[in-house]
């Protein structure tokens, strides 16, 4: 086989459109759940008068509980043996319960103290995130194993990422829906009703991947079954979990993908606040209406560009491979970040829109290609350890993304303060403040993109290598596993 040969996906490796669509529905639910609390939490402050610091605390605490629950759920899912599979039962139950808890946690009663609401919501959040993890971790893992084909994985992730964008489109509308005085007496009542609508949607749509997607693997019996006492069983599982965790985080190719994602995604997230401040206070001179108009247009262009980028990236990746595609897409984002320096022009505010499509390319490529590349790493891991641990890889990867986001949000406040920004000055900030805001807004994502490119540039699982690994695995298993094959060990 020549190194430059492009493999065509065999008919048996194709995932049916229906399965892709069903898996993509999970993405809408996943993104909706991930973003809804953030977008709706404003009600805690505006509607119930909760201190913004407490609202921030409510959003930060789950990041720490996730650190434990995500990998544990990954381990449990990887090692579950049931006639329904090792992913689908959790997705099914998780979707129903997470929808139910989401609807309930927003039924905040009237007339209680700030601390009552804090504890009520904190308890609700912890239970919510437990079920969210129960749904999301196996759902992510399921995506890594739906096909063994190098290119088909990218197509699946493309569909997933494309459909997931629709959740991000709907989220910014939540506040205006809750505040709609024609429908609700106040935003708190709006949040109660909206939460029920979202809860029902999540429970109904979230079970689709469990119903319609086919699992290809079941957990392997490593040793003969030993009847043991409960404590011994727990001890054995804890040891196995920790061992698996260490192997996962020592997997160099996986770490390269984590680094690429961490820097690219969080580099852009970190300066997200800066872009808004610069658009409102520098470009629009403190005219919040004008600033909001350009930010809205920027968001629309970004969304359209991301959808287009996902489609193009999926296609190009099948021609030149995932690594090269990632490097090209991230380079375009790098160019977009640098363009911002010239496009922040108070005499021509419309120029702020120019970098939007460039920046969107890298973001569109990121979660399309990374999911597909992690699936390749899972194969390599199986080749070397004999275990399929998609759950563990997926959970650690997404926990890293979530933790990075939390850090980015926290750090952005400090950076903004470091520029000398003073809220009481509005648009009349000093020239040096505006300079540093612009400098950080351009340099951080540009540097982060560069680091992401270098991290992924040495990723070793090329198309050729991926097919070699697959062939080895199939030889070892003694059977070719395709999406059409029923689940088998």
């Amino acid at each position: 086989m020549s190194g430059k040969e492009i493999h065509k996906t065999a008919a048996g490796d194709r995932i049916s459109k229906g399965q892709k669509f069903a898996y993509g529905l999970g993405s809408i639910v996943n993104n909706l759940l991930g973003g809804a609390i953030g977008y709706m939490s404003i009600v805690l402050n505006v509607g119930l008068g909760m201190n913004p610091a407490l609202v921030g605390t409510l959003q930060a605490i789950p990041r720490f509980t996730d650190a434990l629950t995500d990998p544990v759920m990954g381990y449990i899912s990887d090692n579950t043996r049931s006639k329904f599979g090792r992913r689908k039962p959790f997705i099914f139950v998780g979707a129903i319960f997470v929808g139910l808890v989401f609807a309930l946690m927003w039924q905040l009663p009237d007339g209680y103290s700030e601390m009552f609401y804090f504890w009520f919501f904190l308890l609700g959040s912890i239970i919510f995130y437990l079920f969210y993890t129960m749904f999301a971790t196996p759902w992510v893992a399921l995506g890594y194993e739906l096909t063994s084909d190098y290119h088909e994985r990218t197509r699946l992730m493309g569909v997933m990422n494309f459909m997931g964008q629709f959740a991000w489109i709907s989220l910014p509308w939540f506040y205006s829906i809750m505040e709609n005085d024609a429908l609700f007496s106040d935003s708190v009542e709006g949040a109660r009703t909206l939460a029920i609508v979202i809860g029902v949607f999540v429970a109904v749509v979230g079970v689709m991947p469990a119903i319609f997607c086919k699992e290809r693997f079941v957990a392997q019996d490593k040793k003969e079954k030993v009847k043991s006492k409960l404590l011994e069983g727990i001890k054995r599982n804890v040891v196995a979990f920790l061992k698996g965790l260490v192997i996962t985080i020592k997997r160099v190719e996986f770490l390269k993908l984590c680094a690429g994602t961490f820097f690219l995604f969080n580099g852009i997230m970190l300066v997200g606040a800066f872009s808004s401040y610069i658009t409102i206070f520098y470009v629009s001179g403190g005219d919040t209406d004008l600033g909001a108009k350009y930010m809205g247009l920027f968001g629309t262009i970004t969304t359209i560009s991301t959808l287009a980028a996902i489609t193009v990236v999926t296609w190009i990746s099948s021609k030149i491979g995932k690594r090269k595609t990632f490097i090209i897409a991230t380079s375009i984002t790098l160019v977009g970040s640098l363009l911002k320096w010239f496009c922040y022009d108070p005499m021509a505010p419309w120029k702020v829109l120019i970098p939007a499509p460039f920046i969107a390319v890298g973001m569109g490529a990121l979660f399309t290609l990374m999911g597909s590349m992690i699936a390749d790493v899972c194969d390599l891991d199986e080749l070397e350890t004999g275990e399929r641990r998609e759950g563990m890889f997926g959970s650690i990867y997404w926990w890293m993304v979530k933790l990075g986001m939390a850090l980015a949000f926290g750090l952005s406040g400090f950076l903004l303060e470091g520029t000398g920004y003073a809220v009481e000055l509005g648009g009349a900030q000093s020239s040096s403040t505006f300079f540093w805001m612009r400098f950080l807004d351009v340099s951080i994502p540009a540097a982060a993109s560069l680091i992401a490119i270098f991290s992924v540039a040495s990723f070793k699982i090329t198309e050729e290598k991926a097919y070699e690994i697959r062939s080895e695995l199939e030889k070892r298993r003694g059977v070719k596993i395709t999406p059409e094959t029923e689940a088998q060990s």
């Binding site: 509308w173 829906i177 429908l183 319609f212 629009s284 001179g285 403190g286 000055l425 009349a428 900030q429």
Partner: protein, 349 residues
């Protein structure tokens, strides 16, 4: 066969999910879809706020008008059952009796609320009380009528502003030396308060000596004449604490001041004054966010009338120190507030 069946089930389920989603969306966004389709909701309340500033020839008040209009638009957009209209009724030049007449007429015409900047508190107190007695709430901005029945006032704390002027000046002259106060019209209450603020704040600086407070008619020429005389009397004068911006309303200041030699801190930072900041004749100006006069007043009227919220009687406006450091930012802010005669070279700083 099994696959085809599964695909059919998926399609069916998708249609159900889509239907539920569309229903949820149409419920949630009915207001939006109605607006897009040109359908106005029924039972929309129209709330008319009559805005009476001191003078429509003064750009300061035109900026306040823009603030009021934008806030009214925002509120009308946010609350689908409320339409806020601003009825701009401002005399061309300052005339307190004309303002009083406008208030009475607005009450007779059925206005829902009045916001007013009083040219003369004594002339307007009676008119404001007449409006309130007839069920029309009144709020003052910029210039108050404290003894009237108005429910709130939005404006600066003049004593604090005077203190701020002195503190800025003290920093510029190294906390020591002789300074003079330029006081404008001696009978104006707000200016008196500012002068008092300067005098209170100087107590914290034992090495600063105030050589005097100098009053004058509020014109550029009169202010310049006073300054010239004081500087001749005190050649070692280190700074001017100005409680207004009169000497900067023309070009004459350049003839009597050497840039940077005598430090100046003044009040107001209108476009006409900015060249003195640029050339270092004046080091700091305390700018008033005039746009917010209108914006905050409309917001508070809606809080009281529509949202039935408690509104504080005195709402303080914070001045913004403008220096060469933030000349660009302040210029862009002025442009956003509706001022038009701002040189482009400041906007790109």
């Amino acid at each position: 066969m099994k696959t085809i069946y599964a695909e059919m089930k998926i399609t069916k389920t998708f249609i159900y999910a889509l239907f539920i989603g569309l229903v949820a969306f149409s419920i949630g966004c009915r207001d939006v879809t109605d607006k897009l389709g040109g359908v106005e909701p029924e039972n929309v309340d129209t709330l008319v706020i009559t805005m009476i500033a001191k003078s429509s020839a003064n750009p300061v008040f035109m900026s306040a008008k823009i603030g009021a209009m934008r806030k009214a638009e925002d509120i009308s957009e946010k609350y689908s059952l409320l339409d806020v209209l601003i009825n701009w009724k401002t005399p061309e030049y300052e005339n307190a009796s004309e303002q009083a007449e406008i208030i009475r007429n607005a009450v007779k015409e059925g206005t829902d609320a009045i916001i007013v900047s009083c040219s003369d508190k004594d002339s307007l107190t009676k008119a404001i009380n007449y409006a309130v007695d007839n069920g029309v709430p009144v709020m003052t901005f910029d210039s108050d009528a404290p003894d009237s029945k108005r429910f709130a006032f939005y404006g600066p704390d003049d004593k604090e502003m005077g203190k701020k002027v002195l503190n800025e000046l003290a920093g510029l002259i190294g906390d020591k030396g002789k300074i003079a106060i330029l006081g404008g019209n001696q009978t104006a209450n707000n200016l008196q308060e500012r002068v008092e603020g300067v005098r209170i704040a100087v107590a914290d600086y034992p090495n600063i000596e105030i050589v005097g407070t100098y009053y004058h008619p509020e014109t550029e020429s009169d202010a310049i004449d006073v300054m010239k005389k004081v500087q001749e009397t005190y050649p070692d004068l280190k700074g001017w604490a100005m409680v207004g911006g009169w000497p900067m309303f023309g070009e004459k200041l350049k003839d009597i001041i050497e840039p940077g030699k005598i430090k100046i801190v003044g009040v107001d930072a209108l476009p006409v004054q900015l060249k003195y900041i640029e050339k270092n004749y004046v080091q700091v100006l305390l700018g008033q966010p005039t746009f917010r006069w209108g914006e905050i007043s409309v917001e508070k009227v809606i809080d009281k009338l529509y949202l039935k919220k408690k509104v504080d009687e005195i709402i303080r406006l914070n001045t913004i120190p403008v220096s060469i450091e933030n000349l660009g930012g302040w210029s862009r802010q002025l442009r956003a507030w509706g001022y038009q005669d701002i040189p482009e070279k400041y906007l790109v700083l």
